[in-house]
């Protein structure tokens, strides 16, 4: 009986009642949402947003703390080491990205045309060196590039390299870093590309065969266009990561007896400004340069491709 009274009392204001409830419900649901993401949000704020903001502040101020506008960017840009560092990176990137497009896609297409089990073995082998990313991979390749111990010594002999110093002459570095990056990173991209190829419905490929396309034509006219967005994805991510080169020139530099500049890559230059010159503002300016490149890449990926359609 109690319920009858209560509902009769509230019937006249049915609509206002539910309006109020709507607000209340929204808030209640919202509270749960905030609770779930709050921890991550704090991490994001402290280690994602705050450093970026702090770097931007430093980049626009002088060592004394005065706002100096673009002065740090101009001065670092005019530094004699600035342009070479970016040129080095550009050279390295053009080799690395070209090899990604040609070799990674070529290998993925080959793997896709052979039996699944065999290709699984190949994919795993190609992916395995990924375990040695970073310092370990550079160390391994220092052995590989040293003609005195390398298992590739015959191959290195073709170029008449007698010792490590000759192999890692500064002019050779872009291609050497591209080889290292390929060795440690290509496998992952082959797996991704293969997976994308695998997502193409089999009927489509069979239909192409019935329409008279050979393996080559199927690959070029059917498979490639269908995985185009993945190729874009791979190139942008590889480009963004490639601009950040640090450990490779750093370690190879250690082994080069001073032949290689300690400011070979932009990140090394920023590091140099920070720790050799104690000029954090210059370092911040270069960091912001690199940050902008990274942001642009992310923006292209998020807004121009349809890969990250979040609902």
């Amino acid at each position: 009986m109690k319920s009858v009274v209560s509902h009769q009392a509230s019937t006249p204001q049915g609509t206002t009642d539910s309006l109020g409830s709507k607000l209340r419900r929204k808030r209640k649901n919202g509270v749960a949402g905030y609770a779930f993401v709050s921890g991550y949000f704090i991490l994001l704020a402290l280690f994602g947003i705050a450093p970026a903001v702090y770097a931007i502040c430093l980049a626009f101020t002088s060592t004394g703390g005065h706002v100096v506008g673009l002065s740090n960017f101009i001065k670092t840009g005019e530094d004699f080491r600035f342009l070479p560092a970016f040129e080095n990176i550009a050279e390295y990137l053009s080799i690395w990205l070209a090899s990604l497009v040609v070799i990674v896609i070529g290998l993925a297409l080959m793997l896709h045309s052979i039996s699944r089990k065999v290709s699984a073995a190949f994919r795993f082998i190609f992916y395995l060196p990924g375990a040695l990313a970073g310092a370990a991979s550079v160390l391994v390749w220092l052995f590989m590039l040293d003609p005195t111990v390398s298992p590739w010594r015959l191959f290195l002999g073709i170029f008449d390299f007698k010792n490590l110093g000759q192999t890692i002459l500064p002019g050779h570095l872009p291609i050497i870093f591209a080889i290292i990056a390929f060795w440690a990173g290509a496998g992952g991209w082959i797996v991704v590309t293969y997976g994308a190829l695998n997502n193409i419905p089999n009927e489509l490929i069979e239909a192409a065969e019935l329409d008279g396309a050979g393996p080559m034509q199927t690959a070029l006219r059917i498979k490639l266009p269908l995985i185009k967005k993945w190729i874009t994805f791979m190139l942008i991510l590889a480009f963004a990561a490639g601009t950040q080169l640090f450990v490779e020139p750093q370690l190879v530099g250690e082994a080069s007896l001073g032949l290689i500049s300690p400011t070979w890559s932009p990140n090394e230059l920023a590091y140099y400004f920070a720790f050799q010159n104690n000029n954090f503002n210059y370092a911040a300016a270069i960091s912001v340069d690199l940050l902008v490149i990274g942001l642009l890449c992310a923006a292209v990926l998020v807004f121009r491709t349809k890969l990250f359609e979040v609902e």
Binding site: L43, V140, E254, A298, V310
Partner: protein, 291 residues
């Protein structure tokens, strides 16, 4: 004619694939063989000649006792930084992925967008800014200066988000609500237990990223007792005569010893690779698409 073509192209495929197998595997195999030989043998003998266990024992002993067991110390540091970072990352990224996928709140889409951006941006881009930040609060040189940045792992949040929004239907959570769960219990009893595969995946990717990270600890940790393995390797490289013949030979670190150190550095990741290869492949794909 066509069949002939097909046989040809298949043969060609296999030749190319085998050539690349050699390219990818020879360095790994050589690395595993080299500690069995002396430095002299490495130079004079066939690169794939077998060495002796005695040589291995020597190289391992020299390497491990080097500078008062530095290698073990670096290994320990690497483990602490990597797993410390992973633990915190997991605690926060799984609920965050769930919250982004299945709750409504103001700013949800913005948070998702920012996560995507930070995830795509190379982590190294933030290293110097992070150092400047840590420097301003006098945290440089402490383990936390590495662990905390490691624990911010937007890719993990994204993986969890993709998992929850694609593999956990809203009706499943609705069923739990009707069955009497409040929001916390829906997560705790339904969403969290279902996340087991994604926890493994996030752990794997975070582990590989943290273990191999060079730039961040290199910048944050000036003291050699705090080094993780990658920085330790660089330290070895600069103090041994293996590649710098001019350096003092008294430390006894030559190429076989350096190979031992490299193997120690890569072994954990390699082992994880061997065990996790299946979930890993699916994760590489899931990481970048919602399908």
């Amino acid at each position: 004619m066509r069949i002939f073509n097909r046989v040809w192209s298949r043969t060609l495929s296999y030749i190319v694939l085998l050539a690349f197998t050699a390219f990818f595997m020879v360095p790994v195999i050589w690395l595993l063989f080299s500690p069995f030989k002396t430095d002299h043998q490495l130079v004079t003998e066939n690169p794939f000649a077998l060495g002796t266990l005695e040589n291995l024992g020597h190289a391992v002993r020299v390497m491990f006792t080097f500078e008062d067991y530095s290698l073990l110390n670096w290994l320990k540091n690497s483990a602490i930084y990597s797993f410390g970072g992973i633990a915190i990352a997991l605690i926060f990224s799984i609920p965050a992925g769930y919250g982004l996928a299945h709750t409504q709140f103001i700013g949800r889409r913005t948070l998702l967008g920012v996560t995507l951006f930070v995830m795509i941006m190379p982590a190294t881009a933030l290293v110097l800014p992070l150092f400047l930040e840590a420097n301003s609060v006098h945290a440089v040189g402490t383990p936390l200066s590495v662990i905390l940045p490691f624990s911010f792992f937007p890719f993990g949040v994204y993986l969890a988000y993709i998992f929850y929004s694609s593999s956990v239907p809203k009706d499943l959570l609705a069923a739990a609500r009707i069955d009497g769960c409040n929001e916390w219990n829906v997560f705790r009893r339904i969403a969290l237990p279902l996340a087991r595969p994604i926890i493994a995946l996030v752990t794997f990717f975070a582990f590989v990223a943290n273990w191999n990270n060079f730039f961040l600890p290199f910048v944050m940790l000036p003291n050699s007792t705090n080094y993780p393995l990658p920085i330790g390797l660089q330290d070895l490289l600069s103090t041994t005569p293996a590649f710098n013949p001019g350096q003092g030979g008294q430390v006894g670190i030559y190429r076989p010893e350096l190979a031992v150190a490299t193997i120690v550095a890569m072994a954990p990741v390699m082992i994880v690779f061997l065990f996790a290869q299946r979930s890993l492949v699916s994760g590489l794909l899931a990481g970048s698409t919602k399908e």
